[in-house]
């Protein structure tokens, strides 16, 4: 669970202000908004990776943040996969044991010894996701995890997210894909110019947006 109020982060040319925000336990929030709206910054604020200049942030449980680059280390697949657990102090052998089913699930079981740098974009995305999921975080903050993935990989990532959600994790997913936002979300936020302009249950958000900006955004019109 994350609760924020009066968050502010601004620097020249950028001004993010969020009056009141909640990521309830077990929720699945999809966040929409054009590039530069402040989505990534907001995610990192929620993750505690960046400090806000103002405001109060309350977080219960462990949050992990995954950025859109699906960063892999200059190591092989298994050493990359266990990295999250190793950071938490889990012993190497135990971490490997725990990762095995995860890797099998995302189709990487046969490639444990390969350098991660040799993986395709989709494989990297899966690897990055199981690396985070294996640490059993309470909140997942995901920055466009399916960006530039093919449908098969998108389906695999979405299935993993759904399952995590079913098992009680909270998810905040930033995406540009309206269908995905609608498919997965329980609640949807629209961020524009550093402000949350609409925040509603996903079905309501898509069926009957209230604000002019949300209507325009869903209609595919530029709203900057």
């Amino acid at each position: 669970m994350i609760r924020a109020s009066g968050l502010r982060k601004s620097y020249p040319g950028f001004d993010l202000r969020v009056a009141d925000l909640r990521v309830p336990e077990g929720s699945f929030i999809t966040m929409l908004g054009p590039s530069g709206a402040g989505k990534s910054t907001l995610l990192r604020l929620l993750a505690g990776m960046e400090a806000a200049q103002d405001g109060v942030l309350e977080r219960r449980g462990r949050a992990v943040y995954l950025d859109q680059d699906n960063i892999v280390l200059e190591r092989n697949v298994i050493d990359n996969a266990v990295f999250g657990l190793r950071l938490m102090g889990v012993a190497s052998a135990e971490a490997r044991r725990r990762l095995r089913p995860w890797l099998a699930r995302v189709g990487l079981a046969e490639r444990l010894r390969q350098p991660a740098a040799k993986l395709s974009g989709g494989e990297r995305a899966r690897l990055a996701l199981v690396r985070a999921l294996a640490t059993e975080p309470d909140v997942l903050l995901l920055d466009e995890p399916t960006q530039s993935l093919d449908p098969k990989n998108v389906a695999m990532v979405e299935a993993l997210l759904r399952e995590a959600h079913t098992r009680g994790r909270s998810v905040v997913l930033v995406t540009h894909n309206l269908h995905q936002a609608r498919r997965l979300g329980e609640e949807t936020w629209l961020l524009l110019g550093g402000r949350i302009v609409e925040q509603a249950p996903t079905e309501t958000f898509f069926a009957s947006p209230r604000s002019r900006e949300a209507k325009a955004y869903l209609a595919g019109e530029m709203v900057y």
Partner: protein
Amino acid sequence: MDVPLGEIWEIAWRSLRIAGAATFLAALFGLPLGVWLGARPRRGGGSARVVLYAAMGLPPVVVGLFFYLLLSRSGPLGKSGLLFTQTAMVMAEAVLAFPMIAGFTAAGVRARAANVRRLVRGLGGSEKQVLTTLLWESRRPIVAALAAGFGSAISEVGAATITGGDIRHHTRVLTTAVVLETRKGELRSALMLGLVLLGLTLLVTAVLVVWGERE
């Protein structure tokens, strides 16, 4: 052959020790500085990098001269009696290797710092874990930095001559021996010494790289 084989190995072994000690000394200060410069989360440090990169072009003879004046009995550290010793050579060569090691390390670490920090912090790791991860992730550029530092130390002749004096059995190293043999017109010996120098540099670099690439 003017230089007997046994003496060539003696000289090679001395070169290796002096360049090795100089690299070690330079790494002792250069690695932490390079990591610190490269790993800092904020931008900046540009001027420090400019100084480091410029220092990679430090003329060895000028460094040698500096140490000569410093260690000469008429100089500020004259009482140490270190001029024309291997210690003096190690110090001068370390100064020459230092910017290589610090500079290449900083560049390698810097190229990885943003990603590693985002990954580690994103997974809930501490800033200290960012640093340890960064160190391991930068092992290849660090090894390259060490190899470059060693290479500059072992292949250098100007500072070695001025601070060491090319004393037989004491401060004669491969490069100064090549100069001596060339001066004497013993080109076969000079070539032989040169080949040993090349082979040695290649060998050490290979060992370093293999060591750096291991999983």
